[in-house]
């Protein structure tokens, strides 16, 4: 004789608790979709306001007090200059610091101090770096409001995160590779140069690209050193005044006229495409080398 399957169903208080628990799943899902929703809403809003302004003229024109003639030419060139110099300055120092910490440093209090210091520097607000840049690079070293002052300031700002990323990349290289090289008679530096660094390179490159994408959006620190200026020429030397795309966005945002709001939105599209491309590039490099 077959018996019907028994389905146990909770009643009373237990049933209520279970129902509340099931409903909570949707509440929590909803909350975690808020961020995604905001992201899409902002993208939609920017594109609907700014896409109409996007054109080759918008990229290739100098800024102007007439919104329809204004463009990103000088600010885009300024951004590329600052970021390029930043990479040249920050990358060797960051990788050097990371190698020293991971491979050469004596395991003593000096190392603890350096590590703790890096962690705290990573949390210093960018406007403080701006004050540092204004006092040290603009005034003390006399760089004024030039690309040089900007690049030094941004280099110091991204140094902590680049060091931390490089450290992680170096730690990923298995110690058997070091032992093998050392066993064959390589010196410590030869081991690092020929074996550890090539293995850590993808991680280091990913780290510096992410740092550059953050630096690309930096505004406050560069305003502090005086980059909020009107530039109507192409920068050809690092010792010229400059401005950057985020500062141009700031400039257009604080103007009351509707046309400048459109310019700001269009510039945001350009900046976001650049930042997202950098992030994508970093992700691609990371995935590519994870497999091999």
């Amino acid at each position: 004789m077959a018996t019907a399957p028994v389905i146990l169903r909770a009643r009373g208080r237990v049933a209520v608790r279970q129902a509340v628990s099931r409903a909570s799943a949707y509440l929590f899902l909803g909350a975690s979709l808020v961020g995604v929703f905001v992201l899409l809403l902002l993208a939609y809003e920017t594109i609907s306001v700014g896409a109409g302004r996007l054109s080759w003229d918008f990229i290739s024109n100098y800024p102007s007090r007439f919104a329809e003639r204004a463009g990103l030419r000088s600010s885009a060139i300024g951004t590329v200059w600052v970021l390029g110099l930043t990479v040249i300055m920050a990358l060797p120092v960051a990788v050097g610091t990371a190698i020293w910490i991971e491979e050469f440093a004596p395991r003593n209090r000096a190392l603890t101090v350096v590590k703790l210091n890096l962690a705290n520097l990573a949390g210093v607000p960018s406007i403080i770096y701006g004050v540092l840049g204004l006092t040290v690079f603009s005034r003390f070293f006399g760089f004024g409001s030039t690309i040089m002052a900007g690049a030094f300031t941004v280099s110091l700002m991204i140094l902590p995160m680049t060091v931390i990323a490089s450290q992680e990349a170096i730690r990923q290289v298995p110690s058997s590779i070091r032992d093998g090289a050392l066993a064959l008679g390589a010196t410590q530096w030869q081991t690092v140069w020929y074996h550890v660094l090539p293995g850590a390179a993808p991680g280091i490159i990913t780290g510096i690209i992410l740092a550059v994408s953050r630096a690309a959006g930096e505004t406050a620190a560069l305003i502090m050193i005086g980059a909020f200026t009107f530039i109507a020429f192409d920068n050809t030397s690092p010792f010229e005044d400059f401005t950057t795309v985020p500062i141009q966005i700031y400039n257009w945002t604080i103007r009351p006229q509707e046309e400048f709001r459109e310019n700001a939105a269009a510039a945001i599209i350009v900046l976001m495409v650049a930042v997202l491309s950098l992030n994508l590039l970093a992700a691609v490099i990371r995935e590519r080398f994870r497999r091999s």
């Binding site: 607000p125 406007i127 070091r178 700031y250």
Partner: protein, 315 residues
């Protein structure tokens, strides 16, 4: 009779080879260069402290400590200037409070969903999207705070009495900015709570919600607190959003719909204004900067301490 020698394994060889004296001069030079690189970050810290301290001391030669800490009005450019820091601190506290009110519930709920409810695939799509919010330049958020939150939402909903520059619009976008910080770090902490605790609670008849909120959340509390402290440090130090959307009128209020000025907002204003060196308003930039530096440092140190605690317990 056999000779018992030390077993030869990688660790020993590594150690022995490290001790071998390689006296090539370039090896020493390279080591020196690397150590020099490592000192750059130390020099940076000293430079920050020195730069802030030097002008702050000069500032306090002109303005007494009691004027700075006991006055409430911040009017550096008035005929009879007044340098009471509390209006600027209140501006910062204002946006900290309201951005946390928005971001903490949403961030924690997201963390709970990602850690306790979501399938692995959902989690692997949602988490990177949330973290993408952290990569958006803050000047972009500032644009939205002014144009979208204030002009498109607050004014149509609450009427045109809402000031064009208000703390709430800035707080909304600051909340969006810190959402990934809170969600991501809290999720890490929740994921590292051992399975046993959950299983034990299920065994006693707890529902999924009860496990999440009464077992996992308390167990991950130090990580959650760390995420909130880090978020506070980021809000306190953020400049563009508050400078553009919250206004530049120092105001001793925590009411979200008022025009205010934060510490960072004031610093940017001085930076834009090209104040002459040696004047009190130039020096006040550094006094406020010192205050900002100390506050963010304290929150960051506290956060590191809490992160260390949850790592200690479960890893």
């Amino acid at each position: 009779m056999s000779v018992v020698s030390e077993p030869l394994h990688a660790g020993n060889v590594h150690g022995a080879l490290r001790r071998r004296p390689f006296s090539r001069w370039n090896e020493t030079v390279v080591k020196g260069l690397l150590a020099a690189c490592a000192t750059v970050s130390l020099v940076t810290t000293f430079a920050i402290i020195f730069v802030l301290a030097e002008e702050t001391i000069a500032f306090f030669r002109e303005v007494s400590l009691s004027d700075f800490f006991l006055e409430t009005r911040w009017r550096p450019l008035a005929g009879r200037p007044s340098f009471g820091i509390w209006e600027l601190v209140a501006g910062t506290v204002n946006v900290v409070i309201w951005s946390l009110v928005i971001a903490v519930p949403i961030g924690l709920a997201s963390a709970i969903y990602l850690s306790e409810y979501a399938q692995k695939r959902t989690r692997n799509t949602l988490k990177p999207m949330l973290e993408a919010l952290a990569g958006v330049p803050t000047v972009v958020y500032a644009y939205f705070a002014l144009n979208f939150v204030t002009l498109d939402i607050l004014r149509p909903v609450l009427g045109n009495d809402v000031p064009i520059f208000n703390a709430f619009a800035a707080s909304v976008m600051l909340a969006v900015m810190i959402l990934p910080t809170i969600a991501s770090i809290s999720e890490d902490a929740m994921s590292s709570v051992p399975r046993d605790l959950r299983e034990a609670a299920y065994g006693l008849g707890a529902t999924k919600l009860e496990v999440a909120t009464r077992v996992v959340l308390p167990a991950a509390l130090s990580g959650v607190i760390a995420s909130i402290l880090l978020a506070i440090a980021r809000v306190v130090g953020e400049t563009m959003i508050v400078a553009i959307a919250a206004g530049s009128t120092p105001n001793l209020t925590l009411w979200p719909l008022s025009t205010i000025q934060t510490m960072t907002g004031f610093m940017l204003q001085v930076g834009l204004g090209d104040a002459a060196r040696g004047t009190v308003d130039y020096q006040s930039l550094f006094a406020v900067g010192s205050m900002l530096f100390v506050i963010t440092l304290l929150f960051n140190i506290a956060a590191t301490w809490f992160v260390g605690r949850f790592r200690e317990v479960y890893e």
